[in-house]
Amino acid sequence: MFVKDYMTRHPVMVEPTMSVVEAQGIMAETKVRHLPVTGSGKRLAGLVTRERMRIPPTELASLNVWEITRLLSNLAVKDVMVKAEDVITIEPGATLEDAAQVMVENKIGCLPVLEEGVVVGIITEIDLMVQLGDLLGGRVTGVRVTVRVPDRIGEFAKITSAIASQGWGIYASGSVPTPKRPGYWDCVVKVQDVPKDELVAVLEKIEGHELIDVREC
């Protein structure tokens, strides 16, 4: 799971000299929230977001309609963008968790993906959420079970081998340390084309495991 496989290639981009009004129009037209600003050769010059193009409310209050219009029409993308040196970016070869980490640490919603200074794509929180959903099989139907297992090597394998021994296949899985319960992990598996009761029966037989949740979805 690398950034290059999940980023949006050929993102919508704008030029530094474009007026802010036009850039807002492009955002509305294409329904994107972040626009990398590029100069010649698709080199990153900056980044604009919706917030960036808003007039601060304090300033807004002191202006009349005509002044707002004039202010906006004279404003170019380069006046409001985050300059390239301040834009946090990522490489196409980075892992998705790297990207997530960078976004979380900086509390930002998107990362332009750069290859030798050239914008080759963009990855946003939405792309990461899609992958989180897919990781747990969110878009397929099946039986989803949550099992709480002790933090020991080989516990997850017990689940997978129990399911495999019945000839069923695991479509998606994920596990995280149980929140507020040190020493335990919560494992989520999604199994397709299986009767719920039979799956529960098989998993209940495993010693030391606790079935937290079973649902068909």
Binding site: R9, H10, I26, V130
Partner: protein, 706 residues
């Protein structure tokens, strides 16, 4: 497979675009009300006959319309940005960075005096500002990406030193160097051989997947569309008449024009009956003659009513994401369509010929062209002479009243063979007898009677007609020369011939420039038939014509053949056309015939490995057809220095079945293997092995059914 659920806006969105050209008759609307969208990693095919405005749409997107063209309405949005009304400077930036184009003729996109490496690297040094050496390395990597053999060395060559297919790969590599969001391809494979075309089409598929590029693909070839496109827009006379997914359009065409197009494309069916062509009557109106306030297709439509002549239909959605510009799409059942009277020629075979004695018999025919040697010795006549072996040891025979189709890639010697028989080239060795007469002498020394019996229809009617002679004079000339009819009856006879090729007497006084391509070719056919010949050689007579016209011309040729009991030799590169047309087929490769036999036998196993590869490369106008994936590597070797042993061994994909990886193929010339008395294959591989091959093409649909 799960697709990305994030709803992206289309890369390109064209809305009700209208494009006009300024002419001295005022503005002519070339394209009107065209709308479509292209997403990332999707190909949108724009298909239609010539003069329908396909290329105008492509040029309109990037405003390459020339000084007299302009977008007069609608909008073209690229990545949300309106392109209409931009300055040329802004567009140039966009074109360089995010939009690339690939044109039909690669040679016109490449500078002949600059090496390929310099041309490729320039794209990066100019647009990206990176160093020359880095750009050079990147260019090599991109050439390798488009499967260019020996990429490092190709960089130092000039465009004329590589083949057409390789040139087109260079152009594609150049277009992709900047990783464009949108790629516009205007007939990129039309000038290429079928085997090369297949490789380029595979490449386009791969690139679309790997680079997520949105592609607008313009073509006239319904087979190509079925192979590479996800969505299709069918253009007719400047309007988009149908739009939908490729499966929907092919399985359930909703517009009568699309239905008509499907019926006039030769299909690679297994039976001859399954491949009857039904041309669309009439012709595409010129832009200034298009009906206003009416359906533009009405004059040619079998379903037209008064409403169609008085109201202009809009493109409306009939099924989910499948639209058509027709009032009656819901009612029309294409399956219930029956050809109107007189549209399809009577194809019942002529009365069984009395003798099976072949009308023409060629044995061991060789036509070599002497090549200037560069050595000094040759100046004094002592150098070793080099020969281009254009036709090498060809033997064939055609029974009277039958048609022999000759197929092969360009440069395989098809045309030279025809020219040798007709007397435009002199054979180097071998024997050719026509009705028992020797025809190895050049045409200037032949008896007039013989010339009269042997006529030819040429590929390009433009270059074979005198532009300042009227149609009547052109057709009348052979009549007078051969004295076929008394001179006072000549005009009558010309009119009769014109009628026979479905042109009326008013064409008698027209000049070639006043005719359309299809009409010119009909005049060419009438001229060939004027002397009432016994054998007509047709050298690619339909390859320059649009599909609907092609169907009409092919049917006409067939009909004339039946009426006169003619024998024909029909040269073509299109295997589906040959399938439809021929009784016998000869497959040529590098001057040799590699397979010869009745048409049915050629299109079913056992195949010669070359025939198999040709068949698997033919684009089939049916997205569901299954076709074996065999691609020939490399290009046709030079006829100046053909490979030893079997000429095909350098590219043969089947050599491995022989012991020692087919060593014998390099050393020994194969001998003919007779599958039946009439069907023979020129290959080392034993027939039992060849018979094990599966059929190349399997269509799931019923034969000949739409």
């Amino acid at each position: 497979m799960i697709t990305n659920p994030v709803n992206h806006a289309p890369v390109l969105k064209v809305e009700s675009a209208a494009i006009s050209y300024e002419t001295r008759y005022g503005d002519v609307e070339a394209v009107r009300d065209v709308s479509f969208e292209v997403q990332r990693a999707e190909t949108f095919g724009v298909v239609g006959e010539s003069g329908c405005g396909k290329s105008t749409v492509a040029f309109g997107i990037v405003d390459f319309l020339g000084p007299n063209g302009k977008i007069v309405g609608g909008s073209v949005k690229f990545q949300g940005q309106e392109l209409v009304g931009r300055t040329q400077a802004e567009l140039r930036r966009l074109r360089g960075d995010q939009i690339s184009m690939v044109y039909q003729d690669p040679m016109q996109a490449l500078n002949p005096s600059v090496t390929i490496g310099d041309q490729l690297a320039e794209v990066l040094t100019v647009h990206r500002g990176i160093s020359k050496s880095e750009a050079w390395d990147k260019s090599i990597r991109m050439l390798e990406r488009v499967y260019m053999p020996d990429a490092t060395n190709v960089m130092n060559r000039y465009p004329h030193q590589i083949s057409g297919g390789q040139q087109q790969r260079v152009v594609i590599a150049m277009a992709l160097l900047n990783n464009p969001a949108l790629l516009i391809m205007d007939e990129p494979t039309t000038a290429l051989d079928v085997t090369v075309e297949a490789v380029v089409l595979d490449l386009i598929e791969d690139l679309k997947r790997d680079f997520d590029t949105a592609i607008v693909y313009i073509t006239h070839d319904l087979g190509v569309v079925a192979r590479v496109c996800n969505y299709v827009g069918v253009m007719y006379a400047g309007e988009m008449v149908e739009r939908g997914s490729v499966e929907a359009i092919y399985e359930n065409p909703l517009h009568p024009y699309t239905q008509g197009l499907m019926r006039c494309v030769p299909k690679l069916g297994t039976t001859k009956e399954g491949s009857i062509l039904y041309p669309i009557r009439g012709r595409v109106p010129a832009p200034k003659d298009r009906p206003k306030g009416a359906c533009i297709f009405a004059p040619r439509c079998d379903y037209a009513t008064d409403r169609c002549y008085n109201e202009h239909p809009l493109l409306r959605e009939i099924e989910l994401a499948h639209s058509a510009r027709c009032f009656y799409s819901e009612q029309i059942d294409a399956g219930a369509w029956r050809p109107p009277e007189g549209l399809v020629p009577d194809l019942a075979p002529a009365t069984e010929e009395a003798s099976r004695e072949p009308i023409i018999r060629v044995e061991g025919l060789k036509t070599y062209y002497e090549q200037e040697s560069k050595s000094l010795l040759s100046l004094v006549g002592a150098g070793e002479k080099l020969y281009v072996k254009a036709v090498d040891d060809v033997s064939l025979e055609v029974p009277p009243g039958k048609t022999l189709g000759i197929v092969g890639e360009s440069g395989c010697g098809k045309s030279t063979l025809a020219k040798t028989i007709i007397g435009l080239e002199s054979p180097t060795a071998g024997d050719a007898k026509f009705l028992g007469f020797d025809v190895t002498s050049p045409v200037s020394e032949r008896d007039e009677k013989l010339i009269q019996e042997l006529q030819m229809v040429f590929q390009n009617p433009d270059s074979t007609m005198n532009p300042s002679y009227t149609v009547g004079q052109q057709i009348g000339r052979p009549l007078r020369r051969f004295g076929t009819v008394p001179s006072d009856k000549a005009r009558e006879e010309v009119v009769r011939l014109l009628n026979a090729v479905r042109l009326d007497g008013s064409y008698y006084d027209r000049l070639p420039r006043q005719l359309s391509g299809g009409e010119k070719q009909r005049v060419g056919i009438a001229r060939a038939f004027a002397s009432q010949p016994d054998l007509v050689l047709c050298d690619e007579p339909v390859s320059a014509l649009d599909v609907s016209v092609q169907a009409a011309v092919l049917n006409l040729l067939l009909e004339l053949q039946r009426q006169h009991g003619l024998t024909m030799m029909f040269i073509a590169h299109d295997l589906s056309v040959v399938r439809f047309f021929s009784d016998y087929v000869a497959v040529m490769y590098l001057g040799h015939i590699v397979e010869f036999g009745p048409a049915e036998a050629i299109y079913a196993p056992p195949y010669h490995p070359y025939t198999e590869a040709l068949l698997s490369a033919v684009p089939i106008p049916d997205p569901r057809a299954e076709q074996k994936h065999i691609r020939l590597s490399g290009t046709v070797p030079s006829a100046l220095n053909p490979p030893s042993g079997c000429v095909f061994h350098t590219r043969c994909p089947r050599r491995d079945v022989l012991p020692d990886g087919g060593e014998i193929c390099q050393v020994e010339v194969p001998s003919w293997r007779y599958n039946t008395e009439e069907h023979r294959i020129f290959c080392h591989i034993p027939l039992e092995e060849l018979r094990k091959m599966e059929a190349v093409v399997t269509t799931t649909a019923g034969e000949g059914g739409d």
